[in-house]
Amino acid sequence: MIKKWFTPNKEIPKKIYNSVGFITFLVVLGIWSLLSYSGFVNALFLPTPTTVLATAVKLFVSGDILFDIGISFSRVFTGFLVAALIGIPLGILMGSLRIMEGAFEPIIGFIRYMPASAFIPLLILWIGLGEAEKMSVIFLGTFFQLTLMVMDVTKNVQNDLIDVSYTLGAKNAQIFTKVILPASLPGIVDTLRITFGWAWTYLVVAEIVGASSGLGHMIMQASRFLQPDKIIVGILIIGLLGLITDIMFKSIYRASFSWMRKDGY
């Protein structure tokens, strides 16, 4: 029985699969509890789970954190939306037209290795400390990767599928709208899901420097005033928000692409 669970690529019962994931969570929580409740680690560095929970409740009841969540979410969402609105069409064109690939692939491939956070001083110089600067960091962090990933997805559309469409009378514009776009749509939604996750990680970078609101700013402030419980609450909330958007994208994927599953559901 046990041996079966450790055979490579072998399926295991769903119940076991879910249980082990839950157990891992419990183990992490257990280690945390052990270290904090026992006093082994100073509460100034690692607060107990109950303290963190109490702080979270307090922050939500007072409503302060809701404001921070709102402003952070709008920054991530707007920055990412602009990146997607430009990156998706550009990526599709680069994936299907050699001339567009030739024109943009080298420069995007170059810029994507420049760390988005290193652009912050320059962005502050150019556009100040306002919302536009925060959104620009998110944009820079996601746009280039997103575009290249969409290009790859589009490139992978089966050539025969495009050829057969020509023999069915499709014109170049229709090849884009009726073949390449629907064929690469699942890959594009998946790319959005992955890059949106990255957008959350850039949020903290954007809000740690020169911000006066948002979750990243809250975390920075808590560090200054030695409030580790508040830091942990902030980190957990960002994690949860990321998880929620991930689940959202996954359910969009499931609902939109039932044609990819044999059972049709």
Binding site: D160, L161, S165, T167, Q174, W259, G264
Partner: protein
């Protein structure tokens, strides 16, 4: 409903016959004139297809038989307009072809149904592009589903179909577009032997009913004889047409004909021709 559709279809093909009656005297349906293809590679030029000429008559079922890598797919892709030849020209109804178009329907060896469209929407893809109204599209879809024996599967998605069913739908999709010629590039090559023989019969039935001109590539000798009015044998690379063999087996063809003496004679002749070529390509 279906019978009504059938009336419309026969009516339209009657019209076509009348239309064709005037120039019918000489022009073949498809004329390949000195078509050749040379690839440029680093080490110089490779001749994929030597200058080749042949004709296909209206309503004729022609198979091209050849060893792998002999450039038979290249011919088809040039006729379909998906590849450019380096010499010669292709005439369809006397008109030189220029790029791909809906007058030449194609069925590939790989499965090329649009996975995001159900069977019915796959079949009517080309009709929709042409702007055929919904009602007529529905009727045509129903007719072609019945023709290929897949009535009741209109709402299925390609992922839910077997390989043979996918190729049936691909044939229906190409026919529904009413092309002047149907080009088939080893369409049953990926199917198992049992499914293959059934598909051959399905295709012959569809051909007899639709009266389409078909150009069909295969490396399967039995298949090339069973389907064809004429078999063209190709040489090993660089490809060239070696011989045309008219097949005079009765129509409609039955599966049982494959075991007749007549069939056996054709097979022997083709096998020896093909063997020479296969041996050449090994040496």
């Amino acid at each position: 409903m279906v019978s009504q559709k059938l009336d419309i279809l026969t009516e339209s093909s009657d019209l076509k016959k009348q239309g064709n009656a005037i120039p019918k005297i000489t022009t073949p349906k498809l004329e390949i004139k000195d078509v050749g293809k040379i690839f440029k590679t680093k080490s110089g030029e490779t001749v994929a297809l030597e200058k080749t000429s042949f004709t296909v008559e209206d309503g004729e079922f022609v198979t091209i038989l050849g060893p792998s890598g002999c450039g038979k797919s290249t011919i088809l892709r040039i006729v379909a307009g998906l590849e450019e030849s380096t010499s010669g020209q292709v005439l369809l109804d006397g008109q030189e072809i220029n790029g791909p178009g809906p007058d030449r329907g194609m069925v590939f060896q790989s499965y090329t149904l649009f996975p995001w469209l159900n069977v019915k929407d796959n079949i009517t893809f080309g009709l929709k592009l042409k702007g055929v109204p919904q009602k007529e599209r529905d009727d045509l879809a129903r007719y072609y589903l019945q023709l290929i024996g897949l009535t009741g599967f209109e709402k299925h998605y390609p992922i839910q179909l077997s390989g043979g069913m996918k190729q049936r739908v691909a044939i229906a999709r190409a026919l529904a577009n009413d092309p002047k010629i149907l080009i088939m590039d080893e369409p049953f090559g990926a199917l198992d032997a049992q499914t293959r023989t059934i598909m051959q019969e399905v295709l012959l039935k569809a051909w007899e009913e639709s009266k389409k001109t078909i150009l069909f590539i295969t490396h399967d000798v039995d298949e090339s004889i069973f389907l064809a009015d004429s078999v063209y044998v190709m040489t090993a690379r660089p490809g060239r047409l070696k011989k045309k063999i008219p097949i005079t087996l009765e129509r409609p063809r039955e599966y049982s004909m494959k075991s007749t003496v007549e069939f056996g004679n054709y097979k022997e002749e083709l096998l020896s021709l093909i063997r020479e070529e296969s041996l050449k390509s090994i040496h």
